[in-house]
Symmetry: C2
């Protein structure tokens, strides 16, 4: 009896292992893994710069102001507030797992994190500084000078190295071990039946066509309002600003759905606060289908299972300014 | 020979111990010790609230905006920037070691941290919210409801409990083990000769009359411009706003000098950026003495030795809003 039981267990083992690896290889959504092979000294420097408000004209706005690591890597505003309370033109996308995007910004105008990171510093609606003054600020602080020298082996701080260090820190901002990823890895109990049903609907309704891969999105550009037009007060033309093509008007990078229950409000204009409402609108505009209330609830439940473990971030201690450091300019 | 050496060591021991305890008891500046007996669950809740921008009308301003724990517990601005880019009336004092102050705010209008903590939330120039909406916001978020219940054993979230939790977190923000404190505890090599000379000057010139105790200040109210008037564009009348007494005009709480090299710009109007310049002005206005360049350098060196170890703060993960959570109001 005892031996039979063991034999049954052993004979079941391959199918269990098969079931695990099966999902990993056959499901269109892939697991998010923690960052590997990062330069730890550069990450530490990049973390300081991430929280460094002296990269802004007023000395109060840092990367973390609009991509708050206490809030899913966003500010949870329709669009961000920048220098002199300027309301920005578009919703701040999350920095979490952002390295895995096909490109950065909603219209993909930066090809990677490094190309993105210096943009907000001299954007007059965001940090409103200049790259020259940002570098001058860092150069005036001995602790930064020596840390840049250690990390980049150069006596000269450049805006490119500033962006490279920030990007290296951003690479560490992965959110592994969501309930959905545990299920992908073979833990049948990681998802509730509602979440599993929601995932099936997500695939059969066609959401998966654009929202797949490790980011559950982030890999293609698509028109917002594919089947029916999307009405918005937001004037952003999307990817056509990059390509110059009329056909790219209102085409945006498909956003990641990782941690989506934390990164409200939704869409490039931040017009929708409820995840369920966003799901129903997308099914309607992008696939031409009207979801039932039950279907929308199930898909929303599945999406909530994409919230992963957030990186543990110890607040850095920023080195003090010196007499040579440019003073903050309030206006 | 070997025994003689040991005997000499043993005979020296009492005097070494005596030297240690001597400074601890006889010096007018006292050691900063880490916080003890804090309620750890309340501290964790208070830390979330400290970083919680949803306690502000716009949802982008938190306690940490003006008392940045990455920057010595201040914003390093002459005065803070609040809702709709309103420039505040007075320099933000540091939150580090703030519990030990005789009272809170420059004019001492709050008798402790708990009484202070809710003030900025409904100050229209700061977070510009209302206490009612702040409580409504927290009540709409199940994770906060259950955490408040666990910590305060009550189903009702009140603004008093919000302030109590924030204050409990603030109590942990001590900065022990500065070079000066190590010297106070008996380590003769913790200070350079210049720093020791500076401390002697600090005492003989009379600075110590107001800047003593664990905070090196924070224990009395004094007139800014005691011997000679202080000229400022700042219209704050100081403690007379609290007491109604004409004699309290331009009387302020003596600020702590702990971590003073990090908390520029100086004075209640934030008018002076250089610590050495601040030292020379204070000697002139408060004691009627003109310091030599060498004296000012030495006192400044001593003040820099008051920078302690900063608390290690892991950024909290703030729970998401729900459909019931009041939306941010930009204007």
């Amino acid at each position: 009896m005892k031996y039979n039981f063991i034999i049954i267990l052993i004979s079941l083992l391959p199918s269990l292992v098969y079931a695990n690896s099966n999902r990993l290889t056959t499901e269109p959504i892939k697991v998010i893994e923690p960052a590997e092979n990062v330069n730890t000294s550069m990450v530490e420097l990049g973390k300081k710069l991430w929280f460094e408000p002296r990269l802004s004209r007023s000395n109060i706005i840092s990367c973390n102001s609009c991509h708050n690591l206490a809030k899913g890597g966003v500010d949870n505003l329709p669009s961000s507030i920048g220098h002199e309370w300027t309301i920005g033109p578009i919703n701040s996308p999350t920095v979490l797992n952002a390295e895995l995007n096909i490109a950065q910004f909603w219209n993909g105008r930066a090809h990677d994190l490094q190309a993105q990171a210096s943009g907000p510093i001299d954007n007059p609606k965001e940090m409103a500084f200049t790259h020259t003054l940002a570098v001058e600020t860092l150069n005036s602080i001995p602790e930064y000078k020596s840390e840049f020298k250690k990390v980049f082996n150069s006596n000269k701080i450049s805006i490119d190295n500033v962006a490279t260090a920030i990007a290296e820190f951003e690479k560490t901002l992965r959110t592994p071990n969501s309930a959905f990823d545990l299920w992908l890895k073979g833990d049948d109990n990681a998802l509730t039946q509602t979440e599993k049903d929601g995932y099936e609907l997500f695939k059969t309704k066609g959401c998966i066509a654009c929202h797949s891969g490790a980011l559950v999105g982030g890999s293609t550009y698509q028109k917002m309002g594919l089947i029916k037009p999307y009405y918005t007060k937001n004037s952003d033309v999307g990817r056509s600003a990059v390509t110059g093509k009329e056909s790219d008007k209102f085409v945006f990078k498909v956003p990641t759905l990782r941690n989506i229950s934390l990164t409200y409000p939704y869409f490039h204009d931040g017009a929708v606060w409820s995840l369920k409402e966003a799901v129903m609108i997308m099914a309607d505009l992008q696939t031409g289908q009207t979801l039932s209330d039950d279907e929308a609830n199930k898909i929303t439940a599945f999406l909530t299972s994409l919230t992963g473990e957030h990186p543990q971030v110890i607040l850095p201690q920023l080195p003090p300014s010196t007499d040579k450091t440019p003073k903050p300019i309030m206006h």
